[in-house]
Symmetry: C2
Subunit: 169 residues, 2 copies
């Protein structure tokens, strides 16, 4: 019985790695950071890099960063509505930062564009939601693990400002 279990383990491990290989080649890899958030951060970094406060057009960012212009428009609009950017219409218009890059933490950007930073709503600070299945969060084996993950992620994202990530070249 032990032997057959071992053989089973071996066979299936091989089989599984093939499945995973196929997965990575042919299938969509689930990403925890949406393109929306990714594009939003890139756009903010692009604007921050320019340094001056002159409005930057969506079209310029779109071309330079290979982002669909229409999609980017909606993202920048959202960033304006949530207080990261100011805007100016008409010729010479565009978007500009209304805070110093040093004062824009990645946590706040991601919370606006992506939503919760925690991997699970029941440990989210800003988007908390109780699990339907868990009678007690203390008894849940996943809960404390996810709190640890949340805190370590929060530390990284809270320590990094727009100034930090746009300094990289």
């Amino acid at each position: 019985m032990v032997i057959s279990a071992d053989i089973g383990l071996f066979d299936f491990s091989v089989e599984n790695s093939i499945i995973n290989a196929k997965k990575s080649i042919f299938k969509y890899i689930r990403s925890m950071l949406s393109k929306k958030t990714k594009y939003g951060i890139k756009a903010l970094a692009f604007i921050a890099k320019k340094g001056d406060r002159k409005p930057v057009q969506t079209s310029e960012i779109s071309k330079s960063e290979n982002i669909s212009q229409k999609f980017l428009e909606s993202i920048l609009l959202e960033l304006r509505k949530s207080g990261f950017l100011g805007s100016k219409k008409g010729k010479g218009g565009g978007y500009y930062l209304i805070k110093e890059p040093e004062d824009i933490r990645m946590t706040s950007v991601i919370r606006v564009l992506e939503g919760p930073i925690a991997m699970v709503p029941c440990v989210s600070l800003n988007y908390y939601e109780k699990c339907d299945d868990c009678p007690s969060e203390e008894a849940c084996s996943v809960h404390s693990l996810m709190i640890q993950v949340r805190d370590s992620t929060l530390k990284v994202l809270g320590d990094n400002t727009l100034a930090d990530i746009s300094a990289k070249k």
Copy 2:
């Protein structure tokens, strides 16, 4: 212009917080950890808690942890195929651990059930994939940030074993 920008900021910040409030009440909160993975970890912890190596039935775990039995079946099957569990058919059958809980790291469980741990494929160690839009990963403002997040998450998940999370009560 500065004044109108400020007013705009204020108005929209308020509006946005209302939108977010509605979001958390009425809408689905995106979770980075699928229920599949969550249930899988819970099931492993359940089996580990029992201590002895006697097979545990899917139905028992399903009832105790409030998980759809059919869904759980598919998860435990996957955990067996990827080498975490052994199984026994027929009466008195079920699933049992084939490794010590101390030797099962959360990183490996999550990689099997969820896929990549990184937030973005371009910084994933086990599921790497190049971004279509980025010409250079070094120049990407998101890249190094995501590496930091990945490493801190990896640290937490690598330090926690099944023994650690099932010890909690």
